[in-house]
Structure formats: structure tokens, C-alpha cells
Symmetry: C2
Subunit: 203 residues, 2 copies
């Protein structure tokens, strides 16, 4: 295994730092010392700090399967259970960090109030990759769900539940807030499956 090249080292270091401390609280000097690179080299590959963020968001979007989905879905074949296995992966991250580290994309999305269009587009692309994966699960498990279900809306709702649950667990430093959110989402699925209420239609 060849050692990673300079550009990759920068991206990996910056990913760790941006995800852990956020964009604004990470200085270029932080990235330099963690990646063992000099400032001149960084600015040789990237016009500026923001372009490092773009590279990190591209890297994460392209690696979502290997970095997030595959580990979370190891040994889980049922497509609906995979949705909750993915939420379980976020639960693990919360617990292992004392409810400090949640969803890095969500944190960045709310930290950057007026993001550059390119940054915003990549944040959206990361969310879309996530909901796309969930939508795939819903499609694979369609036989156990009402046929008229809006898969896109339900996948987005799973993202909503994850992000909202992470936010509350982090703020309260209490994993129970995340667990209660997931329980509610599970109940949502249970009720959907039993075909309760009118068939869902967008307003």
C-alpha cells in the first residue's frame, strides 16, 4: 500500500477536522500540522481553505458506501432493517463520543449560513446520496409497504429523524433523545405497514 500522496493527506486530515470541529473552528494551521504538510504545498493544490472543504465534501459523497453504508449494513440483509441499522451507526458514533459527534454533514449544513453555491450544492449532494440509499432500501422492501407510498418523502423523513435526533441528543448530552426519535420513526413504519389512515398524498 503506497503512502497517500500530499493532496490526499490534506483531504483526509481536513475531513477529520472539519467533521470534528467544524469549518470555521478549523484553522489552516490545524490542517497543516495534522497532515504534516507545509502551507505552500496546501496552496499549491488548493486555491484556498474553502476549496479544501469542497474536496472533503466530494470525497465523502463519493465514499459514502465504503465509509458509512457498508460498515453499517454488515450482516444486515433485510432492507427495512438496514434503515435502522444505519441509524444505529449514528447512535454508535454518538455514544462513543459522549453525544458530541453526530452527523458531520448536518453540522456543516447548519454552520455555514451563507455557503458558497458550490459548497451548498455538495452538502445537498451528500444528503441526496444518503436519502438515495434509503430510498433504495424502501424499494427493495416495497413488498412489505403499502404500494402507494411516497418513497422519496419517506426517505427524507428518515433523514429528518436522524438529524433531528442527533441534534437533540447532542444538545442534551443524552442518547435517550436519539433513541426516542428512532422509536417514533419505527412506530411510523409500523403504522404505515398496517395501512392505517388515508393513503398519504402530498399537500
Amino acid at each position: 500500500m503506497a503512502p497517500p500522496d500530499t493532496r490526499t493527506r490534506i483531504v483526509l486530515a481536513a475531513m477529520d477536522l472539519f467533521f470534528l470541529k467544524g469549518f470555521g473552528s478549523t484553522s489552516v494551521a490545524d490542517i497543516l500540522s495534522r497532515s504534516q504538510v507545509n502551507s505552500g504545498s496546501l496552496y499549491h493544490f488548493f486555491p484556498g481553505k474553502q476549496d479544501v472543504l469542497l474536496a472533503v465534501l466530494e470525497f465523502y459523497r463519493d465514499g459514502i458506501r465504503e465509509m458509512l453504508l457498508d460498515p453499517a449494513w454488515q450482516g444486515v440483509d433485510d432492507p427495512i432493517e438496514r434503515i435502522f441499522a444505519l441509524l444505529g451507526a449514528y447512535r454508535t458514533m454518538l455514544v462513543e463520543s459522549d453525544c458530541t459527534y453526530g452527523c458531520p454533514i448536518g453540522s456543516l449544513a447548519l454552520e455555514l449560513h451563507e455557503p458558497d453555491p458550490a459548497v451548498r450544492a455538495l452538502l445537498e449532494a451528500n444528503f441526496d446520496a444518503w436519502t438515495g440509499a434509503i430510498e433504495g432500501c424502501l424499494a427493495a422492501g416495497a413488498d412489505r409497504l403499502p404500494p402507494d407510498i411516497d418513497r422519496r418523502a419517506l426517505a427524507e423523513f428518515a433523514l429528518t429523524a436522524m438529524e433531528g435526533g442527533v441534534m437533540q441528543a447532542r444538545t442534551a448530552r443524552d442518547i435517550a433523545r436519539f433513541d426516542r426519535t428512532v422509536d417514533q420513526l419505527r412506530h411510523h413504519f409500523t403504522m404505515l405497514r398496517s395501512g392505517a389512515g388515508a393513503p398519504f398524498t402530498a399537500a
Copy 2:
């Protein structure tokens, strides 16, 4: 009406700025120029920038009724509809800001990765005031919900839906993401009311 005193001017200006641009992106100089106050005066009332944030969070928590609930609930008496009227207020804020301005507390909660304990406690207190209000609605409308419902968990789930919907709408610059989340939550309530699925119990 007496003009607001210096301390209040600072808190009001800082609230606007923290809610609009975040804590990190707001400089003390920003607060000074918006409040028309000199740095010496600010530091006469507050030991530092973070203490201004504490004052803002206290002010907002104490004023949630006047600033948020009362306007949102004008003309809405049904307790369950009040929940969705509150979500409607966030929708209005999103639309009026081109999906830029969402929930200020949520933004701050995710921006501050390692908040001072006092700051974290006040963020939590703001969330608790919010969910407490929703819980009150659920209690007032208890006759139209299954009796064994976990009101706390359901109120937290409403917060989850709001925060997750705001996050996605902001990131995608598309109000439809918020609307779909609210639709899902409404459907959640519909299904609950019809008593579908096993009675909910926490895991």
C-alpha cells in the same frame, strides 16, 4: 416608551446577528456597530463575547411565548392544529428568507461543537421550552389521541421533524423539503389517532 438601555440594545443586536450569521461569524465589532455601543460599554456589562451569547439565549428562552408562540397561534385554538401552526411559522421564516433562515437555536446547537456547559444548558433549555409548549398542546388535545401515548416523546418528535425539515430545506434551498417533512408528521398524527399498530412503548 423609554428607549432601551445599553445592555438591552446589546442583547437585541447580538440576538439578530447570532441568529442570522451564527456565533462564530459575528464579530464583537458587528455587535458594537449594530447596537451603537462602544467596546468599553459592552465589556462593562459582559465579561466577554460568550456571555453576550448567554444573555441572548436567556432572553430568547424567557420570551418564547411573546416572540414565537403568541404570533404563531393567533386565531388558532385547536391544540393539535397549534402544533402545525407553529411549524407554519417556521415555514414562513424559511420562505421569507429564501430558505436561508431556519431555527436559530438549532443552528447554534450544531455550530458550537464543544460548547461551554452554560451555553449547552441554555440551548437545551430553549429546546425544552419548545417541546414543553408542544407537550401542552398534546395534553390539551388528549381527547383526540390514544390515551397511552407518550406525550414527551411525541413532542420531541415534532421538534425533530421541524429541525430536520428546516435543515433540509435550507440545504436544498427548497421549501418542498420542509413541506414533505410536515406532511409526514401530519400523517404520523393521523395514524396515531386511528390507533394503528401496537401501542407505542419505549425500547
